[in-house]
C-alpha cells in the first residue's frame, strides 16, 4: 500500500500531473472575489472564511477525476482490483494521495491567501485548523464521486454536480467553525461535527467507492 501511495504521489508531482494547478486555482478565486464584491475591508473580512472554504472546495474538485481516471484508462485499475490489497484499501490510499497533493497545499496556502481578503488575525489559525480537519473529507467524498463516474469519457461536469451537494455539510461546519472562531464565539460544535464527518467519510466511503469501482470495472 505504501508502494501505491508513493507511486501516486510521484505521478501527481511529475509534469502534467496537475500538481500546483489546484493551488493556482485557489489563488485565482481568492483574487477574483474582491473584484466581484468590492475592496471594502470590512466586507471582505466578514466573508473571508467562507470564501476561502469555497475556494478550497472548488480547487479540490479540479483534480478529482485524476484519482482513478488515468489508471482506469490504461488498465492499471483492473490490475489493482486483482492485487492482494482490498479495493477499499486502494481507494483509501488514492484518496490520501489526493489529499497530500491537493488538500494539504491548500491548507497551508489558505492563511496566506486569506491576507488578500483581510482575514482577521485569529482567522489565520482557524482557517488552517478547519481546513486541515475538513479537507480529508473533501478528498474522500470526491474519491467516491470519482469512482462513480470513472467509466464516463467526459464525466467532469457530472462529477461536479454529484460531488458539490455532498460537500455542503462539510462546507457549512467548516466555514461556521472558522467564522465563529474568528468572532470569538464558542465553536466546538461545528468543529466536532466537521471532525466527525471526516472520520465517518474516511471510515465508510471507501466501501461505497470500492463498490462503484467494481461495478465500473465489470
Amino acid at each position: 500500500m505504501i508502494a501505491l501511495l508513493t507511486r501516486d504521489l510521484r505521478l501527481a508531482v511529475r509534469a502534467g500531473g496537475g500538481f500546483g494547478l489546484g493551488l493556482a486555482f485557489f489563488l485565482i478565486v481568492s483574487s477574483l472575489v474582491p473584484f466581484g464584491v468590492g475592496p471594502e475591508a470590512e466586507v471582505l473580512a466578514r466573508i473571508a472564511p467562507g470564501i476561502l472554504w469555497v475556494g478550497a472546495l472548488l480547487a479540490c474538485l479540479l483534480s478529482l477525476d485524476r484519482i482513478f481516471q488515468l489508471d482506469f484508462e490504461d488498465g492499471s485499475l483492473d490490475l489493482l482490483a486483482t492485487a492482494p490489497i482490498p479495493m477499499e484499501g486502494t481507494v483509501a490510499v488514492k484518496a490520501l494521495a489526493h489529499w497530500i497533493t491537493t488538500g494539504l497545499p491548500l491548507v497551508v496556502a489558505a492563511p496566506v491567501f486569506g491576507a488578500l481578503m483581510n482575514l482577521p488575525q485569529p482567522g489565520y489559525v482557524w482557517i488552517f485548523v478547519t481546513l486541515l480537519i475538513g479537507t480529508p473529507a473533501l478528498s474522500m467524498i470526491g474519491a467516491f464521486g470519482a469512482a462513480l463516474t470513472v467509466g464516463l469519457k467526459r464525466g467532469g461536469l457530472l462529477l461536479s454536480l454529484l460531488v458539490l451537494p455532498l460537500y455542503i455539510p462539510t462546507l457549512i461546519f467548516g466555514a461556521e467553525a472558522a467564522t465563529r472562531g474568528i468572532e470569538g464565539f464558542e465553536n466546538t460544535t461545528p468543529l466536532l461535527m466537521l471532525a466527525a464527518i471526516t472520520l465517518a467519510a474516511v471510515a465508510l466511503l471507501p466501501f461505497a467507492a470500492a463498490a462503484a469501482l467494481r461495478i465500473n470495472l465489470r
Partner: protein, 258 residues
C-alpha cells in the same frame, strides 16, 4: 467458433430482463390497477384541493395566503417521500436484484423532482408577502434546494451511463450515499441558519396547531398527492420496462444481422 459462443452468451443476458417473472407480473398487475389508481387520484386531489381552495376561511396573520398550504405541504411531503421510496427501491435492487425495483426508482425521480420544484416555488411565493422576499435561507427551504440538487445528480447519472445494469447499480449506490448526506445536510442547515441569523425563523410549521377546518382537506390533499405519485410512477415504470424490452430486442436484431 468462440465468437459464436460469446454472442450466444450476450444474447442470453439480454433475454433475461424480459424472461424474469418480475417485469411480466408487474406489467399485469399495474395494468389492472391503473384505472383504479387514476380514479382514486382524481377523486382525492379534486376533493382536497377544491375544498381547500374554496371552502376554507381566512386565517389570522396569514389571511387568504393560508390556502397555499394545500399545494405547498403536500408537494413538500411528496418530495421527501419520493426520495425515500427511491432509496428503498435502490436497496432492493442492490440486495435482491429485482429489475422492476431499479426501474421504479428511475421512474420516480422526475416526479419527485417536480414535487420539489413545486415545494420550492410555492414556498417562495408564499414567502414574498410573509417575509418581504422571494427567497430566504430558511432551513426548510434550503433543505429542499439541496434535495433538488440531489435529484438532479441522480437523474444525470442515469442519463450518462449506457449499460442499463451498470446505471442501475451506480445510481443505487448514489441514492444510498446521497440519502445519508441529505439527512446530514438537514441537520447542518438547521445549525447553519440558527447560527448566523438572529431573525425569526418563519414558522410554516405543519405541526402548528392547525384547526380541523384546515386540517381535514389538507390530509385529503396529501393523500391525493400520494396517489398521484403512485399512479405516475406505475405508468413511468411500465414505460421503462417497455424501453428495456425494446432495447433488448434491438440488440438481438443487431446480433442477428451482424
Amino acid at each position: 467458433m468462440p465468437e459464436m459462443r460469446r454472442i450466444k452468451q450476450r444474447q442470453d443476458r439480454y433475454n433475461s430482463v424480459w424472461e424474469w417473472a418480475n417485469p411480466i407480473k408487474f406489467m399485469w398487475f399495474s395494468g389492472v390497477a391503473l384505472p383504479w389508481l387514476v380514479g382514486l387520484t382524481v377523486l382525492l386531489m379534486g376533493v382536497g384541493l377544491v375544498w381547500g381552495f374554496f371552502f376554507t376561511p381566512e386565517a389570522v396573520n396569514f389571511g387568504s395566503s393560508v390556502k397555499i398550504i394545500y399545494v405547498h405541504v403536500p408537494s413538500a411531503f411528496m418530495a421527501i417521500s419520493a426520495w425515500f421510496m427511491m432509496l428503498v427501491a435502490s436497496l432492493i435492487w442492490l440486495i435482491r436484484r429485482h429489475h422492476v425495483s431499479a426501474l421504479a426508482a428511475k421512474a420516480a425521480a422526475p416526479v419527485g423532482t417536480v414535487m420539489t420544484i413545486i415545494a420550492l416555488l410555492t414556498g417562495a411565493i408564499w414567502g414574498e408577502p410573509m417575509w418581504g422576499t422571494y427567497w430566504a435561507w430558511d432551513p426548510r427551504l434550503t433543505s429542499f434546494l439541496i434535495l433538488f440538487l440531489f435529484y438532479l445528480g441522480y437523474m444525470a447519472l442515469w442519463g450518462a451511463i449506457e449499460n442499463p445494469d451498470t446505471a442501475a447499480d451506480l445510481t443505487s449506490v448514489l441514492a444510498v450515499v446521497g440519502s445519508v448526506f441529505a439527512f446530514l445536510s438537514r441537520y447542518a442547515v438547521n445549525f447553519w441558519n440558527q447560527g448566523l441569523h438572529q431573525g425569526a425563523t418563519l414558522s410554516l410549521d405543519k405541526e402548528e396547531n392547525i384547526a380541523d377546518t384546515y386540517w381535514i382537506p389538507l390530509v385529503i390533499a396529501m393523500v391525493g398527492f400520494g396517489a398521484f405519485f403512485v399512479t405516475l410512477v406505475f405508468v413511468r415504470t411500465r414505460t421503462e420496462i417497455r424501453k428495456r424490452r425494446t432495447h433488448a430486442l434491438e440488440m438481438r436484431e443487431r446480433m442477428a444481422d451482424a
